[in-house]
C-alpha cells in the first residue's frame, strides 16, 4: 500500500524555514498581531515544535480554553467522586480526568481507596464493560467538545440498540462556539485572529466560525496540528490582518470539509440538546453545554441523587485566567513550584492538552501577555 505522507511531510524542515521567513516578512508592516490558538492540541503543538520562538516578537500566540478537562468545573468532578463512592457503581473515564484535583480528592485517589474507576480508550469500551457486568451501574464521564461528544452519542445509541440498561452518561460536554463568542469580545485580549481547532472543525465544518468573522471582525483560520499546518495558519491570519479582512479560511483541507461530518452532526443532534453550562474561567454560558434529550433520559446519570461536598477551589491557582488567555502559566505563582505534573494543583497542569502541562514539559518562555 502506498505510503501517504500525512504526518512527516507536514514536519519537513525546508518548507518550515520558508514559511517562517514569509511570516517575518508579512508581519513587518504591523505594529502587533495577537492571535489565540483555541485548541489544547494546538497549544501542545506550538510548544512541542518551539513555534513561539520562531515567530517575530510582536506576533503573539495566546492559549485559549480548548482543553475540555481544564474547563470542566470542580463541582462536576466532585459529583463524579461522590458517585464513585456509592456501592455498585463503576466510573468509566478517559485517562486525562484521573489526576485532576477535585475539591478534596481526585478519581485516582478514590481508586486507590478502593472505588471502581476504570480508564477507557473509547466510549465503546465503556458500553462493552456495562454489557458484561449487568448488575453494576456504569457511569461514563462525558467530558469533551464536539470532537468527543459524537462518540458519546454513538455509545448511547449503541447501548440503546443492545438493550443495555446499566450504562449512564454524566454529561459535561461543551460546545466550542459560545466560548469563542465570549473570548473574541474580551477587550483585555485585543485579539487579531483565531487559530481554529482542526478536529472540532472536522466535525462542525467551517460555518460555525462565521459569526466571529462577520459580526465581530475577527479573522479565523482552521489549521491542522503539524508544524507546517500551524505556521500556514498563522501566515494566513497575518495575511488577513494586513489586508484588513475578516473571514473564515480552512488551512486543514485534508481533514475538514466545509459542511463538516454530517453523520456525526446528525447523531449529536439526535442524542443531545444544548443546555446552559459552567466553564472554569468563563463562568456559566447560555447553551454552551449538551445534555441528553428526553428520549435518552434513561441513560442520564443526573437521575442519581448523591450528596456532593461543597466546592473548594485551589488557592492561588490561575487556571481560570490561563484558560481565557489573560495570564500565561509563567505568571502563575504556583507554576513549576507548588504545581507540577507530579503534584498538579489545577487541571491545566494535568491534561495532555493543558497549557500549564505543555509549558512545564517544553519549558519555553512565552511571549508576555501585556
Amino acid at each position: 500500500m502506498k505510503n501517504i505522507p500525512f504526518i512527516s511531510a507536514f514536519r519537513d524542515p525546508a518548507p518550515v524555514r520558508g514559511l517562517v521567513a514569509r511570516i517575518h516578512e508579512q508581519a513587518k508592516p504591523l505594529a502587533k498581531a495577537t492571535f489565540m490558538e483555541v485548541c489544547g492540541t494546538h497549544t501542545m503543538s506550538l510548544y512541542r515544535h518551539g513555534i513561539r520562538s520562531l515567530l517575530p516578537k510582536h506576533v503573539k500566540m495566546l492559549s485559549g480554553p480548548g482543553c475540555p478537562v481544564c474547563v470542566t468545573p470542580h463541582a462536576y468532578l466532585d459529583r463524579a467522586i461522590a458517585l464513585s463512592r456509592q456501592p455498585g457503581f463503576v466510573i468509566t473515564t478517559f485517562g486525562d480526568m484521573m489526576r485532576v484535583p477535585g475539591s478534596t480528592s481526585s478519581l485516582q485517589r478514590e481508586r486507590a481507596k478502593g472505588a471502581d474507576i476504570r480508564v477507557v480508550y473509547s466510549t465503546l469500551d465503556a458500553v462493552d464493560m456495562a454489557e458484561r457486568e449487568p448488575n453494576r451501574s456504569f457511569v461514563f464521564l462525558g467530558v469533551g467538545f464536539e470532537t468527543t461528544s459524537p462518540t458519546i452519542a454513538a455509545a448511547v445509541v449503541s447501548a440503546q440498540h443492545r438493550g443495555i440498561k446499566n450504562f449512564f452518561i454524566a454529561s459535561a460536554a461543551k460546545r466550542v462556539a459560545p466560548a469563542l463568542d465570549v473570548i473574541v469580545q474580551d477587550e483585555r485580549l485585543q485579539l487579531d485572529g483565531l487559530l481554529c481547532p482542526g478536529h472540532v472543525s472536522a466535525i462542525l465544518g467551517t460555518s460555525v466560525y462565521e459569526p466571529l468573522a462577520n459580526d465581530h471582525g475577527v479573522p479565523c483560520v482552521i489549521a491542522g496540528f503539524e508544524a507546517l499546518d500551524v505556521l500556514q495558519g498563522i501566515s494566513m491570519l497575518l495575511e488577513q490582518v494586513v489586508d484588513r479582512q475578516a473571514k473564515v479560511q480552512n488551512a486543514y483541507r485534508r481533514a475538514v470539509e466545509p459542511q463538516g461530518n454530517r453523520v456525526a452532526l446528525a447523531l449529536l443532534d439526535r442524542v443531545f440538546e444544548p443546555v446552559d453550562s459552567t466553564w472554569r474561567g468563563l463562568g456559566s454560558l447560555p447553551a454552551s453545554g449538551l445534555r441528553l434529550r428526553s428520549a435518552f433520559r434513561d441513560f442520564d446519570a443526573d437521575r442519581f441523587e448523591v450528596e456532593v461536598e461543597p466546592t473548594r477551589e485551589p488557592r492561588g491557582c490561575a487556571c481560570g485566567d490561563i484558560l481565557r488567555g489573560i495570564l500565561t502559566p509563567f505568571e502563575c505563582k504556583l507554576f513549576g513550584t507548588v504545581c507540577t505534573p507530579d503534584s498538579p494543583q489545577g487541571a491545566c497542569m494535568v491534561s495532555s492538552e493543558g497549557t500549564c502541562a505543555a509549558a512545564f514539559r517544553y519549558g519555553q518562555t512565552p511571549a508576555p501577555t501585556s
Binding site: 500500500m1 511531510a9 521567513a21 466510549t123
Partner: protein
C-alpha cells in the same frame, strides 16, 4: 490511521505498526485502505490524500516565493 478491516460499526486500524479497534459509527462508509483521523477511539473523518498533496505543493510554492510588494 489506516483502516485495515471493517465489520459492522467497528474497524481495525493501524498506526505506527500497532493494530487498534476503532468505532466507525461516525464514518460509516469507510473502506479498508483509507486513512482516517481517530479521536477517542472513533474514526471522526477521512483524510483526503489529494487535499494533503495539494496543500503540500501550495506550501512548497509559498515558502519559496518572495512576498509581493504591497
Amino acid at each position: 490511521m489506516q483502516v485495515l478491516r471493517v465489520s459492522d460499526d467497528r474497524a481495525i486500524a493501524m498506526v505506527d505498526g500497532v493494530e487498534r479497534e476503532i468505532g466507525t459509527a461516525l464514518v460509516p462508509d469507510v473502506q479498508p485502505g483509507e486513512y482516517v483521523i481517530v479521536h477517542a477511539g472513533f474514526a471522526i473523518q477521512k483524510l483526503s490524500a489529494q487535499e494533503a498533496q495539494e496543500t503540500l505543493s501550495m506550501l512548497q510554492l509559498l515558502s519559496e516565493e518572495p512576498l509581493e510588494p504591497r
